[in-house]
Amino acid sequence: MSGVEPIPAVAAPVRPGAGPWRQAATRILRNRSALTAGAGLLLIALVCLLAPVYAGSIAHTDPFVSNISGTTVVGGQEVQVLQQSTEGLGLGVTPIGPTGDPGHYLLGADNQGRDVMARLLYGGRNSLLVGVSSALLCCALATVLGVVAGYFGGWIDAVLSRFFDVIWAFPVYLLAICLSVVLLTSGLHLGPVHIDAGSLALPIVIIALIYVPYVARPLRGQVMALRDKEFLHAAVGLGASDLRIMRREVLPNILPTVVVFLPLMTALNMLTESALSFLSVGVQSPDASWGTIINDGLALLYTRPMITIAAGLFVALTAVALNVFGDGVRDALDPNARLRGGA
């Protein structure tokens, strides 16, 4: 990997002679903000992964089955989960609010009488899954397209760049909503790819696609800069094939940038998923995500704001943690970058 340029030591001293990845790891371990954010992320992910345990063993509830006529226990008394107003004209039905008891609707119930806390944990699994998967898919596609466009140049670059321009020309949320509305009706059937309408894979693919130009563009520029480097000319001179050069010489040099993009794109994609789900064009029932839960809570904003607040807090905390962690990764891998005015 002859082309990796030495990273100047700036923020934190590192052991001389260590490889660039090791140096990056050392820098991250010395970055308290990034470490805290990373730990927070791990905690959120772990808690969400334990959703079935919480629902089955603690809350004793199925968060995907309506429980409109059900009852629960609050302060030793059996009460309806959805409570009919008994005052005045007796209009309206209100779900039970937060009880503080993990075994009995810790954060209250939604309109269907389902445990909000259990749904938040299950919803978190899907939000994180969509965020991470779409970021991985987006970065993978962008890397391939960026490398091909930057390496070959000429008409290939022109075609791919115009493709990026076309996607970039649309407001990102508008494009996502349009694609979602169309694909949610019939699913995605493109050659060998078949994704059913309502499948979780659909928002993953849509979100990944709309952000491809945002990652591919800088990668393309970076590859174009690498094309004039001596190590690349040397590889050509030695008779290496284009594929080999891209794989063995170009890719390793842009990998740190891709790694920097991953957590940032995960945060962005998760927010996009939440927005789409809030608009009912993201994750579809019976699946839930933090976005769908915020949407569920909208109708109860006046009487049971905790549903929306709790889901919103989860989204905000996770996005902040991902961004802080992403900044840490970027600082570690590319200390010269000044994208956010940091190190």
Binding site: L89, V93, Q112
Partner: protein
């Protein structure tokens, strides 16, 4: 009539004589809760001069389309049209049960009906004037009936298809002439309407806004936002569906029948558009508006029912919410599968989603209480999941995929999610498909879209059993591949069809026998379960503290012109 609003309404002491199938009656509202017994409220005798004047401020999220009474088919504008237009007959403009009574309006008296039931002769009142125009004549009546077809009115091919010459008018609207169907005798000042076949419901159809009498020189095209001068106590002076509809007193109006068209109280009625229901409720609470048209937000109902009980009015509607099951598509092509879902649905639970027991009543019958022919029975009284699962097994459809297609309004989404969950519980693989309210109603009607089950509502066009059973479930109401196939289930039973025709014929001679027959048909249809009734809704009207003389009309809802703001 599919209404454009899922009306949330609440309970009351009032007309809870209407008992639901399962014997589940709505609980009586607590003593002292004002604003409850509204349906029984009737107008005070005579006009109360001291309450005349002021501006009534109504609020809605958006306008309800064209202001042309021959074309508009929305409950929002039908309500307003009551103060602007008249037909030959009218539903009595009072609150309560009497509001379903027909009275002569532009006609002097109820029509003389020929022995064969095919001719209705009306003598017109003298001295009734159009706003800014001349006196109402027989020519205006003839021209108005022809205009129904010339503008291709939405009910020209249904409600008024029985008039002699109507068939040709429906085919070639621009060349429409009803010279044999609607005959004027200027000397006698009479109009005779001739029908191809007797139609016992025809007088009811004459009292709807689509049969309003307009000036004969009204252009034969949709007038859109351009007001047409009517004979009512108010006339529109401006209309922008995105901003405001303004009505002022019709200077040419003189009260000719308090029952048919009473003089109005406010000097002006201003209908403002743009606020969300949430914001409009707050405006009414603050006294900045007098009434909210849109369904009240579910999370505000409790507050309105407690803090503003005296300003809330709750009334039973002639309507029901239901699940149409596609009887031509698996799994609901099997009667056992349809009955399984009928057994599995917990109607009390669905009622909770609509706002609770004081806002809706569980429904077991297809004919809502108050509609002639309604019979008290309940063949699917309580949810029985075990029985439902057995029926699913018997039908051989267990494990099949079912998509529940609902519109994106909050109540429909909630019900859809519940139905999805219930289908899963009885052995299907169910998913929810939410589509825009703008396209939902036409989408679920077209059998090409292969909708298996959906959530829909039906509000009475007029009080008749046929407006529910014949319209929703007759063979003729199903049109393959059409967006306008109101028999959403695609259900067709020739025997039931024949019995419905028999009931309609019987209605002309023996109403009691006809009603009994409709009740039997209702029961047999309920057993066959092509549609599953969920609940009959109530209307909750929330008015400002200054509003008085609230009256609820069963056909056209709150009588806007009779409200006091002074």
């Amino acid at each position: 009539m599919k209404r454009n609003l899922p009306i949330a309404a609440g309970a009351a002491l009032l007309a809870l004589s209407v008992s639901a199938c399962s014997g589940a009656s709505s609980p009586a509202a607590p003593a002292g809760s004002a604003g409850t017994a509204d349906s029984s409220q009737t107008s005070p005798a005579g006009f109360q001069e001291q309450h005349k004047g002021g501006t009534l401020r109504l609020q809605a999220k958006s306008g309800d389309g064209t202001l042309d009474p021959h074309i508009n088919y929305s409950n929002g504008n039908w309500q307003i049209f009551q103060a602007m237009y008249d037909g030959l007959l009218a539903f009595k403009k009072v609150g309560g049960e009497a509001s379903y009574d027909l009275v002569p309006d532009l006609a002097e008296a109820m029509p003389q009906v020929s022995p064969d039931g095919r001719s209705y002769t009306f003598t017109l009142r003298k001295g009734v004037k159009f706003a800014g125009g001349g006196e109402v004549t027989a020519d205006d009546v003839v021209a108005s009936f022809e205009r129904i077809y010339k503008v291709s009115g939405p009910t020209s091919g249904t409600f008024y298809a029985g008039i002699v010459g109507a068939a040709a008018c429906v085919k070639k609207p621009k060349e429409c002439t009803l010279d044999k169907g609607v005959v004027a005798d200027k000397a006698k000042n009479t109009v005779t309407i001739n029908l191809v076949e007797p139609d016992s419901e025809f007088p009811l159809k004459l009292a709807l806004p689509h049969a309003a009498v307009l000036p004969k020189d009204t252009p034969d095209k949709d007038q859109g936002t351009k007001p047409i001068g009517g004979t009512g106590p108010y006339m529109a002076v401006s209309y922008d569906p995105n901003k405001e509809l303004k009505l002022v007193r019709n200077p040419d109006f003189t009260e000719w029948s308090r029952e048919a068209q009473p003089q109005g109280y406010p000097d002006e009625i201003v209908y403002s558009y743009g606020l969300t229901a949430e914001a409009a409720v707050t405006a009414v609470q603050n006294g900045q508006a007098d009434w909210v048209f849109d369904p009240l937000p579910a999370d505000r109902l409790s507050e309105i029912g407690t803090k503003y009980a005296s300003q809330a009015h709750v009334n039973q509607l002639s309507a029901f919410w239901y699940l149409p099951l596609n009887t031509n598509l698996a799994p609901f092509d099997k009667p056992e599968a349809r009955q399984a879902l009928n057994w599995a649905i917990d109607r009390q639970a669905v009622v909770k989603m609509f706002g609770g027991a004081n806002v809706a009543q569980p429904a077991c019958t297809l004919l809502p209480p108050g509609i002639p022919g309604h019979a008290d029975f309940c063949d699917f009284p309580q949810p029985d999941l075990a029985k439902a699962k057995d029926l699913v097994q018997q039908s051989g459809t267990a494990g099949q995929e079912v998509a529940v297609v609902v519109s994106d309004d909050e109540v429909s989404k909630q019900i859809g999610e519940y139905v999805r969950s219930t289908l899963e519980q009885i052995g299907y693989q169910a998913k929810l498909k939410v589509i825009s309210t703008n396209i939902h109603f036409t989408y679920i009607q077209n059998d090409k879209n292969k909708v298996q089950v959906s959530v829909s509502q039906w509000y009475a066009d007029y009080p008749a059993a046929s407006d529910f059973l014949h319209v929703l479930l007759s063979c003729a109401s199903f049109r393959a591949g059409s967006d306008s196939s109101i028999n959403i289930s695609g259900y067709c039973d020739k025997d039931i069809d024949a019995r419905m025709a028999e009931a309609m014929t019987l209605d002309r001679t023996d109403k009691n026998a006809a009603n009994a027959k409709w009740g039997e048909i209702d029961r047999d249809l309920t057993k066959a379960s092509p549609i599953i009734p969920l609940f009959t809704p109530k209307q909750v009207d929330f008015v400002s503290s200054r509003v008085g003389n609230y009256q609820f009309h069963k056909q056209f809802f709150m009588l806007v012109s009779q409200l006091w703001v002074k």
